[in-house]
């Protein structure tokens, strides 16, 4: 399908890539269909782009790319909501807040990750029971592990 976005212009996305948020993202309950777009370049950064709201997009990264031992307890109800039985199959993303013109002050919301079922494409923003911060400064993140070749 063709998509109009304010950040990425007109883009074409496969119909199968549509992610369904039956409850929306908190604060945006009326927006239920999104797609996940890669940020250009070699970066784990992705964008959760609303299909029906061109200007709505959230920058995100896979949770474990930021905090290696990110661990949350997902209640059975939330698991069922995304149609999954085991957390092993789940993908967890954290939303980044990147201040305009001050990306060095970026933070990640570890408290309310986005869980996705990669098979059914059903997704949900949940609240972690764990004591994770809503504004985790990226500068505090453990340095990325760089594996040298050879």
């Amino acid at each position: 399908m063709k998509l109009t976005t304010t950040r990425f212009g007109e883009i074409e996305v496969p119909d199968n890539d549509v992610l369904f948020f039956s409850f929306g993202v908190l604060g945006f309950p009326e927006v239920k269909r999104y797609v996940l777009l890669d940020h250009s370049g070699d970066t784990p950064l992705k964008w959760l782009q609303a299909i029906d709201k061109p200007e709505l997009a959230f920058p995100m990264v896979p949770a474990t790319d930021l905090v290696e031992d990110y661990h949350i307890t997902v209640c059975p109800d939330d698991l069922e909501a995304v149609g999954i039985e085991s957390t092993a199959e789940l993908q967890a993303f954290v939303i980044l807040t990147i201040p305009n013109g001050a990306s060095e002050r970026s933070t990640a919301n570890l408290k309310a990750p986005i869980l996705m079922n990669p098979t059914t494409h059903v997704a949900r923003q949940i609240l972690a029971a764990e004591d994770y911060p809503i504004r985790y400064p990226l500068s505090d993140a453990q340095p990325a592990k760089v594996e040298c070749a050879g």
């Binding site: 304010t6 370049g41 784990p44 709505l56 790319d65 290696e68 305009n100 809503i134």
Partner: protein, 83 residues
């Protein structure tokens, strides 16, 4: 806002399938029991407001893409080898 007075052990029913019961009262604290259909989202007001605010901040800006935080910029970030 509808205002109702309830005693300990009493409850209220909201729509179909949502029930709130007063389980305990201690000083200025009230303990509530909530029954709701599966998948109903239930949040403490203050945490709900914070997440909503953070989501709005994260989605701010309608055009262009912000600079990638250096933590994830090419050259700094490298995909972890899964061994």
């Amino acid at each position: 806002m509808l205002v109702l007075t309830r005693k300990l052990g009493e409850g209220i029913t909201i729509g179909t399938g949502i029930r709130v019961v007063i389980l305990g009262i201690r000083g200025s604290q009230v303990r509530l029991g909530i029954e709701a259909p599966p998948h109903t989202e239930i949040y403490r007001d203050e945490i709900h407001a914070k997440i909503v605010e953070e989501n709005r901040r994260a989605a701010e800006g309608v055009s262009g893409q912000p600079a990638v935080p250096s933590r994830f910029s090419p050259g700094v970030w490298q995909r972890r080898s899964k061994t």
